[in-house]
């Protein structure tokens, strides 16, 4: 019994040491968390209960802002266009990204592979406002290069940025053009992590290229697919720079993102309470979507 005592003693001093160290190691992040995440998150919920326009004193209105939101036709339209653009961007990244990643991983000279990879990735590190400004020129209805080329194959001029059917498509194209390289690279890393023996075993079993893709690559890649779906959903619902610079959200609300709508409510018409209520809905949407993706993913992701 007596021989056990010192061990117990060291264990409890180790515990104490851990506890003390934890305070020190967590202090910087805890302080910044409280100041810039916790307080603002409580703040946005609190503000959503007020009618406040910066100039006058705030007035407590309970859930009135949310009642107003439900009957706000523009909010529903904006959520509609945001969801449309988010789903399209997500699909392009997850599907076309996978296709290009698989092609990129076929045998080819190294210099070609590096060149392709770098050119796909480059727009990802360029600021969205620079990218959107370039495309604003390219997509111009009258002097844009895109319409000129389409004209060569007898496509009539398209009002890419001014027609309500085309404006969201322009935002989708420009945003996907910028983010696709990121998804491709994440896929490439996922593909490389699949052990070659699995493919060899499938070949021995007589599987063709498609069979191997369907029954070896896809199941083993499913965690990567999930990661990309979650990341792309969250970032698609944060869409702001592209619609702001390309179309100003228009025409009407055809290409307006929810962040843009909230920004306008807060900093153009100074309805801070109402803008906070919009932000609260966005927070709920993001948490529900992410939780849903993880719940659904249990059924189809395969962790080896």
């Amino acid at each position: 019994v007596s021989t056990n005592l010192p061990i117990v003693a060291t264990r409890s001093t180790a515990r104490n040491r851990d506890r003390l160290a934890a305070v020190g190691f967590l202090a910087p992040s805890a302080a910044s968390f409280v100041l810039f995440v916790l307080v603002p998150t409580i703040g946005v919920i609190y503000l959503s209960l007020f009618d406040w326009n910066l100039i006058s004193n705030g007035r407590f209105v309970g859930l009135d802002n949310f009642a107003k939101l439900i009957s706000d036709k523009r909010l529903w339209a904006v959520y509609g266009s945001t969801a449309y653009m988010a789903i399209a961007i997500l699909t392009i990244n997850v599907v076309i990204g996978l296709g290009l990643a698989v092609l990129l991983e076929t045998r080819m000279p190294r210099i070609l592979r590096t060149t392709f990879r770098l050119s796909y990735l480059f727009p990802f590190v360029v600021s969205a406002s620079a990218v959107a400004l370039i495309w604003r020129f390219l997509l111009n209805k009258d002097f844009g290069v895109l319409n000129y080329w389409l004209g060569l194959v007898h496509v009539p001029r398209i009002d890419w940025l001014g027609a309500s059917a085309w404006a969201p498509i322009s935002v989708i194209v420009v945003n996907s053009w910028k983010t696709l390289g990121f998804s491709i690279l994440v896929y490439v890393a996922g593909l490389r992590a699949i052990p070659a023996e699995y493919h060899e075993a499938a070949i021995v079993d007589g599987a063709g290229a498609w069979g191997r893709f369907r029954h070896v690559t896809l199941p083993l890649l499913s965690p990567t697919v999930l990661f990309l779906i979650v990341i792309n959903t969250i970032s698609a619902f944060q869409l702001f720079a592209e619609p702001r610079v390309l179309t100003q959200g228009g025409p009407g609300d055809a290409s307006r993102s929810i962040v843009e709508y909230m920004y306008d409510a807060a900093f153009q018409s100074f309805q801070l309470g109402y803008a906070s209520a919009i932000a609260v809905t966005l927070m709920v949407v993001l948490i529900v979507l992410t939780a849903l993706q993880f719940a659904v993913s249990r059924r189809w992701t395969f962790y080896s």
């Binding site: 727009p123 620079a130 702001f240 962040v259 920004y263």
Partner: protein, 293 residues
């Protein structure tokens, strides 16, 4: 002669297969090349515009690879119109400080979550995971009010302080620390090292790659952000590059589009140079981020 026929047939079949394989390979490279050109062409075109003597040449149809009578005047005009060097400097300060601050807060917190045993650890980590789903856009209104109250709006502090906490960074580095063998810490503990020394002299030196990954991801994100500076900064001289470009294209523009092209080019070329220098690390960073989560 007759016996040779089947061999010929096999050889012929082989040849067809090899030809089809080569054709497929060419097809793959063709598709990849088209995608690469579609991504590179707009950049080439904007540089061409920046070198064009006038808007007519900029938007010349059909576009040529090189403009007639190229000139560098547009760069001077862009620099004269907006405080461009100031934008770049501000962006560097903001993105650089945020990156360093995040590396400090995230690595220390990640160490606590990966290596220390204390009550409430799992609850705190769950909170980190939940906050991963609350992007800064959601809390921008109260953040603006807090910064205004502290008289920090219109200063770079209002851009630097809010992103100092990063749930993604903590999560990412914790995963990394968990992948390092615990025997290393134990050996150091036997040698009498405390947690501070284990953290600084054992784990951090083994984490240069992971720290670089996080640094690159957070630097690019905040270098490119448009929303925060638009909300927090009202004064052109304190603006960052993304808003600066929009200012050049909008409020401050007086007609000439080649000037805007020059501004965009000046914003892109330094990024391209750094990108090419660091490309191996950037590629690795993104690959790691995808694999580790």
């Amino acid at each position: 002669v007759r016996a040779a026929a089947p061999v010929d047939a096999v050889a012929y079949h082989d040849k067809v297969l090899r030809f089809r394989g080569r054709l497929a390979k060419l097809g793959v490279i063709f598709v990849l090349a088209i995608a690469a050109i579609a991504i590179a062409a707009p950049f080439v075109w904007i540089v061409r515009g920046a070198l064009s003597p006038n808007d007519g040449e900029f938007f010349r149809i059909p576009p040529t690879l090189f403009p007639d009578d190229p000139t560098l005047d547009n760069f001077g005009k862009a620099l004269a119109k907006v405080p461009f060097a100031k934008f770049v400097l501000n962006s560097l300060i903001v993105a650089g400080t945020i990156t360093i601050a995040q590396l400090v807060t995230c690595s220390t917190a990640a160490y606590a979550f990966a290596r220390l045993r204390f009550r409430g650890r799992d609850v705190l980590f769950a909170i980190v995971i939940v906050s991963l789903m609350i992007p800064i856009q959601v809390t921008i209104v109260p953040l603006f009010l807090v910064m205004a109250k502290l008289h920090l709006t219109n200063t770079l502090w209002s851009l630097i302080l809010p992103p100092v906490f990063s749930a993604f960074g903590i999560f990412f580095l914790r995963q990394h620390f968990l992948s390092l063998p615990r025997e290393l810490d134990e050996a150091a503990t036997i040698d009498g090292a405390g947690h501070a020394r284990i953290f600084f002299s054992v784990l951090l030196p083994l984490s240069v790659g992971a720290l670089a990954t996080l640094g690159i991801i957070s630097f690019t994100y905040w270098w490119n952000d448009l929303l925060m500076p638009l909300v927090m900064i009202n004064d052109a001289a304190t603006q960052t590059l993304p808003v600066g470009l929009v200012l050049l294209a909008g409020r401050f523009s007086t007609g000439s589009l080649t000037t805007i092209a020059a501004g965009i080019t000046m914003a892109i070329v330094p990024v391209l140079i750094v990108f090419l220098l660091l490309q191996r690390y950037i590629v690795q960073s993104i690959a790691q981020a995808g694999l580790k989560l």
